[in-house]
Amino acid sequence: MNSRLKDLRLLVALAFRELRQMKFLFLMLVVNLSWGLAAYLTLASLRQSTQKVFLEKAKHFLSAEFSVSTRRLFDDAEKSRLRQLIGRSAIASEKIQLLSMASGANESRLVQLVAVEDRFPLFGQIKLQSGRIVSRSEAKEIAHQFKAWVSAEALQQLNMKVGDQLNLGGKSFVIDDVVVEDDTQALRFIYLAPRVFVGVEPLRTTELLGLGATVTDAMDFAFEPEKSVQELKDLKKSVLEEFSDPAVGATTFLEAGEDAGRFLGYLLDDLGLGALVGLSLAAFGTAALIYSWLHQKVRIYAIYNSLGLTPLLIQGIFFLQLTGVSLVTSLVACGLVSAALPWLAHFVQGFFPTEIGQGLTSGQILKGFLLIWGGSIFLSLPFALSLRKIPTARLFAEMGPSLLALKTPSLFAWVPALGFFWFAATREVNSWRIGSLFFFGLLGFYFLLTILGWLSFRLCASQVGAVGTSASQVRAVGTSAELRGPWWMIQGILYLARKPSLLPTFVALSIGTLVTVLIPQLRAGLHREMMDRSNEPLPSLFLIDIQDEQIPEVEKFFHERNRELVHLSPFIRARILEVNGKSFERAEPQTGFDSRESEQSARLRNRGVNLSYRQELYTSEKLVAGRPFTPPTLVPRDPRDPQQPIELSVENWYAERMGLHLNDLVLLDIQGIELPGKIVNLRKVRWERFEPNFFIIAQPGALDGAPRTWLANVGGANLPALPMTEKQQLRNDLAHRFPNVSSIDVQQTLERALSTVDQIAKALEILSYVTWTSGLLVLTALLYRQISAQEWDANLIRLLGARRRELFALFQTEFSLLVIIAITLGGLGAIGASWFISQEFFDGIFWVDGLSFLLTLAVLWGLGLAFVLLFSLRLSRTNPARILYEVRL
């Protein structure tokens, strides 16, 4: 027979026989890894189906194959230029969208107006309450008549029914039908206002499309036959060349799908970070388990070797076993995920498109298996390499298992495992920055904890008088009778101080604690932040689209009702042309984006920027670099004088993403007029305060003449929030007086945002339970392994005449100290980590939920000590006679 085949058969037999003998360890490995893998697979499944759904439905979301839009209205000349460019054969349909107040007999509400033509929607469909299904082919009466289709939510808010009259911008529309299902809306949970469909033609007769109104005018196109992706890209390019106005943009359906999917993608990336925490805990546990596994097996491998099994084949046994573990793990994880997905799908309903959560593909399962397999092989590589030098000769001298030890793997042997993990981390959260931060943070913690553990063990040793940790030092001190305390205590502490193999367990315990404490802490922090903000008085209303000439009247309107108009801010559209003399626009990458950071900055660059001007900072802002604007000069200045650029203040996040720095010279284009500016400060903005704010704010003066509309708050921070009914009355009155001015109910919007956050928090919470459970399992297993590794010594000590009670006390001393120090350090580490995370991600709002922190620690202490008690009780009961004739493991 072929000798290789024979070797393989032998290996399989040996590997299997051995696995039979280590059921507990096998079980621990599988449990440990399958939790991590299950979390990973669930996310992978969600992610993939999200992408699939969004790409499939991309044309529906855009309701077009290709769309050209502008943040004003197209004029007729532009429209015909566009038709010329696109080709007469394309099917076209215009769509105007804007936020507006809609009023019934008693109520007024903010709605998202979607004005359409006959062909709408070019793709997708809309289901109406009457049973009608609206699609491209049929003509629509709303396109030409004063009729409206109102979403169910708007109907309910307005307290109206089909047939009632709806006032939009001074014109009356009959509610013709109710929208039940709307294919053309990508994300059901992110919107400011419910939708109302009307016709473009009737809309033009209202007062809503006045100068400066915040509208989006889109020309939607469908082609027959459909155009290829490349053709669409080319078309987009030529459209952008033809229309130099920065307000004009073009979107292919693919981009629309990606845009919609991206938001969910980010959300899933963040959940990915959670999965990563679980996965890394699993990795730690796995490494420690594998280490203790091999440690246990050295003697057997040495015997194999003495019988003539080559080191290479012994490594083969080990890899076969890892493969077995990975296979079983993958099966278990797939089972878990298959059970969890339908339930998850239910959970995310109304939050994700319903098609999500369909199940695992075979590709995902294979990938999961490879991840676990590759991961565990990389993880065990250092140990496996040290199998090259099995200390077989020691079999001639061996007295106890502790004498047969593998060589400590060199630090370099860890490089592949670390590299693999780093790579997996960045892939999992789809961000080099966050992934690396996470990875190096964890690595740093590992080293820090190893050092701290070593130091604290030494400290314990010095407390009982055993100052040094080297054998000769301790012996010297010991004989001089300076050791303090009973012998079992000293021996227990010496174990702690002298056994380097305890350190990985110590660190794993610590990091397990850290993760376990950190996740609830973060959640508490997140909630605290939200609560904190909603406790401060918020402005009651946010007004948009106030025209220049309306300002005195609007002010008077509120004054008469004892309310103030505050934070009145001009709103000006602009575009950045150059930064420090270098062109800065529409940078379109040739290949895909490699991370979400580069993706975000490219998208932001492509857009124009809205800006405003004022002299002073709001209370919701903080200067983080530079100086305030210089006071307005009395001497009128020429804004176009490059020697005297206008002073600019830039929001710091935006500056970071755009690569803008303090003192940069920025050339702005404000609706055709070029204006040089200089960044004199960076500021931090608390956007959730709902005060009108902008990425870029200019010094007052130079922009006074620019075309603009106004934003404002009603109420303001120093006024009590309006009661609900009064607020509604105010909005109704406002809508009647100024049909073009829209008001947003800040409270309501915030609540809706909070409920979304709550759902995310819930998902995180579930994840944290998963980590908790797997963490506890790993820790228990490690502790058990570590304690039972000392069985030989226990027997020996008993043989030397120690009483059971003393032996028990020895183990108690050793492992209670280990557990308590590890958990305490882990808990403190968690506080440090959450402080760091709060600085990085949450605007530096740091908050420790003391009660839950102490409670979690107490539970961990309790559990750890209980296990120590249990295990050391078991160990102190071992039969010392066993030592007499056979070394057993």
Binding site: Q21, G308, T310, P311
Partner: protein, 225 residues
Amino acid sequence: MSLQVQGLWKTYQQAQSQIEVLRGLDLSVPTGKTAAILGQSGSGKSTLLSLLAGLDEGDRGSIEINGVLLNPLSVEEKTRFRSAHIGIVFQQFHLIPHLTALENVALSLEIQGRLPNREIDGQARDYLARVQLSGRLGHYPSQLSGGEAQRVALARALIAKPSLILADEPSGSLDLATGELVIDLLFDLIRKEGSSLVLVTHNPDVAARCDSRYVLRGGKCELSP
């Protein structure tokens, strides 16, 4: 000549000091003959055996077994050579705890990989019968007495028909009577198989049964009468 050792040196490097355990040791054991190694504790007997088994490397000198020089072989090659030509018996038995007596014995042949599985099983039973353990086939090491365990170890060392047996105090952990039984069986088996034996022992009676006796002293083997 089954075993031929010439000018073997072995030093252990400690932190500060060097321990010269073997200093130019010569030894030869003809095919089918037995040699006893005596010597004080720490004189280097086990060290010598581990070098003969190819488990460790000497600093100088040569070891030749069945006409094959061990020195130039790689670790893998030495291991294969051990599987084919050398059987080892330890003082501590070193059975595999998760294998039964039968499986422990069969393992040698499985690793050698010359015979089909069915024959391996038959031979293992046969060898366990020769060491009078037919009634203990399914016992795990933890269920065996010390003497029984050592007899299983004997069967395991001999079943692969090695030409050289290395035994390090095989009766050292056993009581007198049991030890004698084990030694009887060892000599019995060796005679039947025609293997050579290098036996480390502290017991002069056991040593007396060997064809030649050496005392390891000052890192060299001295022939003793």
